[in-house]
Amino acid sequence: MSSIRIKAKERKGSVDVKTLMKHNMETGLRKNKDGSKIPEHWITDVTAESGGKTVFAAAFNTSISKDPYLAFAFAGKKGDTLKISWKDNTGKTDSAETVVK
């Protein structure tokens, strides 16, 4: 199962997108019980593509909350596909696709 949940709904030619990405977003400041630091691990980049073009992109710091949430809106219509991908600082990536409702 993808780590990315997407809700995309058209409203008068504009697609409202809400997305939640499951990710620990470790700040590098937290400590394990033994006192050692938990290394930072966070999503650095997110992109949203629809119809072959990027409709939204963002870069994150470690100060974005755990399981990052993003909402934005782009010009589109019901039936369009929307693909959201992320990349984290360890190079791990994930993506998910949905059809606009």
Binding site: F56, A57, A59, N61, S65, A71, F72, A73
Partner: protein, 150 residues
């Protein structure tokens, strides 16, 4: 994914910055160490926008709570009637204030909502880049230490 392959080819951070400079308008905001791991708001702005002169603007609407329910999850939202190409959030007294920078390509609404972490009571600022200028809206958000944390 194009910009990713560009970044990958470029390899190092400084090369990535060079790539940014080479494609000032075409490349979307990518994570950069220089902009994000930086305690100074002015330096981050310079890195992101090539300048740090900002003007407070009533056209930038920032929604953030007066008192955060939980500093780990503070909902914030910015929208603007200006024609924006980028939007960034700064949390002034976080170790590295820049929290997020978003690209607003043509056709995308100048609006972003997300949730940020805040270490203590401080100012949250939304920065909107529009026609080469930076417009801001700020608000102080109180972060309190819980009493019944369970």
């Amino acid at each position: 994914m194009d910009r990713r392959s560009i970044l990958k080819a470029a390899g190092t951070i400084s090369a990535a910055a060079a790539a940014l400079a080479a494609f000032p308008r075409a490349v979307f905001a990518a994570y950069s160490e220089k902009a994000f791991k930086n305690p100074k708001v002015e330096d981050s702005l310079n890195e992101l926008f090539g300048g740090n002169a900002t003007t407070p603007s009533g056209d930038v609407k920032l929604k953030a709570p007066d008192i955060a329910e939980n500093g780990a999850v503070v909902p914030i939202e910015v929208s603007t009637s200006l024609k924006a190409d980028k939007i960034a959030f700064m949390v002034k007294e976080n170790p590295n204030p820049l929290a997020i920078v978003a690209d607003i390509p043509a056709g995308t609404e100048a609006m972003v909502k997300t949730r940020v972490r805040m270490g203590k009571t401080t100012q949250v600022t939304a920065v909107v880049s529009s026609n080469g200028k930076l417009y801001t809206a700020s608000k102080e958000v109180k972060v309190t230490i819980g009493g019944c944390g369970g």
